[in-house]
């Protein structure tokens, strides 16, 4: 696995890393494991959650590589590792509404530095943010998020980097693939060609790919 991360200039201390998946579905666990083995420090993780159990993101956090998490739901049935570090003030957290998180990432990939959304207006998650009225409704200005690295889990991929996903394992993966300087992908199966109408992530967004099989 390690070779997919070799000589990648965007993998460095302090990097922002996007991690696809929702709960345990569609998470590039093998890439996360490979990232952990690099023993980087002060990473900012952008992800829907903060990891559960003793694997994947939770282990990466436990290893001390993560300085900050930007996510929507940093609690799960078993998010002990994150919660303990959080309670101890040893990890920074930015909680973002799930749709705003998805759109901030999409904006990052689409060259849109900021946009307005009604989500979170009047709530603590809009504190300190610019508020503006359009058509008599209040909106919050949100900034885009870009990353140095995106870790993506896909179903199939071809040599051009075209990807498909399987059912709700799609989730954040195609959005994050667009918003990182370097997008690393684990695919369950390398195929000769993903037919052009079936491509969900066009190869332009993919930098490196590795086949991991159906481990889920």
């Amino acid at each position: 696995m390690a070779e997919i991360m070799a000589d990648c200039n965007d993998l460095k201390d302090g990097a922002t890393v996007m991690l696809g998946g929702f709960g345990d579905t569609g998470v590039a666990v093998k890439l996360v494991d490979a990232l952990r083995e690099l023993s980087l420090s002060d990473l900012t993780i952008v992800s829907n959650g903060a990891g559960g159990g003793e694997y994947g993101l939770a282990l990466l956090i436990k290893s001390g590589s993560v300085g900050k998490i930007i996510c929507s739901f940093p609690r799960s049935s078993d998010s002990k590792i994150f919660e303990e570090l959080y309670a101890a003030g040893k990890i920074e957290l930015e909680t973002v509404p799930q749709g705003t998180l998805a759109e901030r990432i999409r904006a990052g990939g689409a060259g849109i530095p900021a946009f307005y959304t009604a989500t979170a207006f009047g709530t603590p998650l809009a504190d300190g943010k610019e508020i503006r009225v359009f058509n008599d409704r209040h909106y919050v200005m949100e900034r885009s998020i870009c990353a140095d690295i995106a870790l993506v889990h896909a179903a199939t991929g071809d040599r051009w980097g075209n990807l498909t996903y399987r059912s709700t394992a799609r989730n954040f993966n195609p959005v994050m693939a667009t918003a990182a300087s370097t997008t690393l992908v684990e695919v369950r199966k390398l195929v000769d060609i993903v037919p052009p109408e079936e491509v969900i992530t066009p190869g332009i967004f993919v930098d490196r790919m590795i086949e991991v099989g159906d481990y889920i």
Binding site: F22, P97, Q98, A118, P124, L125, T168, R170
Partner: protein, 224 residues
């Protein structure tokens, strides 16, 4: 006499029109899918990227690529579709979901809702709640009990807890009543059989209005 959560879910389901696109929050709102009237089709949206969500997967037959917003293994019905997170929340934020049904700690007379955070040491987690209450055409709140365990009203003049959204709740279904949030404040349209207006008011932290002839709510327990 109070409605059970299943009773409440049945009343909610009976108020949803055929063909509606509905997002059911985790927990009690999920019960609504068990009471879809036979002649109607609801298309269930789950914010992690699916329309046409079907029942939970049978034990032993879970496909962990097909999950709902609660990370439970579910299924997809005929006519369903998959999409990514930005597209899913574009549906929500863009006002395409007809009804978002959620639980709440508090709902205020003006439609403010607090359902995401009880201040404390645990990290604040919001998920998609703020997007749903701000984006859906209708926001309905289900309260398994009209008052909290300590007897405090959940329908209040103004929320004490951190808000999820402002002025966005359209209707409340509790174990005692169905209440529309109108420009003039909460309007009770249905009440548990045998309950008096003053009793409901006593359990409510905001001044209630009542339609002239409230519908009478009854437990379905004998039919279940």
């Amino acid at each position: 006499m109070k409605l059970s959560s299943a009773d409440i879910a049945r009343y909610v389901a009976s108020d949803i029109s055929d063909g509606s696109y509905v997002n059911l929050g985790i927990g009690m709102p999920m019960l609504v899918s068990d009471y879809i009237p036979e002649e109607r089709e609801f298309i269930l949206h789950t914010e992690n990227g699916m329309l046409g969500m079907g029942p939970a997967a049978a034990e032993g037959e879970e496909d962990w690529d097909i999950v709902n917003a609660g990370k439970q293994a579910v299924s997809i019905l005929q006519g369903g579709s998959y999409f990514h997170h930005a597209d899913s929340f574009a549906m929500i934020r863009g006002g395409h979901i007809d009804i978002s049904i959620l639980g709440a700690y508090e709902v205020a007379a003006n439609g403010d809702i607090a359902n995401w955070l009880i201040p404390g040491p645990r990290p604040p987690a919001v998920g998609g709640a703020m997007d749903l209450v701000a984006g859906a055409k209708q926001v309905w709140v289900m309260l398994s009990s009209h008052v909290s365990k300590n007897g405090e009203p959940k329908v209040v003049e103004s929320c004490a807890l951190p808000l999820t959204g402002v002025g966005c709740v359209n209707r409340i279904y509790s174990d005692l009543a169905i209440i529309d949030i109108t420009a003039d404040g909460p309007l009770v349209t249905a009440m548990m059989e045998g309950l008096k207006r003053e009793d409901l008011q006593a359990k409510t932290g905001a001044i209630l209005n009542f339609v002239p002839k409230c519908e009478i709510l009854k437990s379905f327990k004998n039919e279940a």
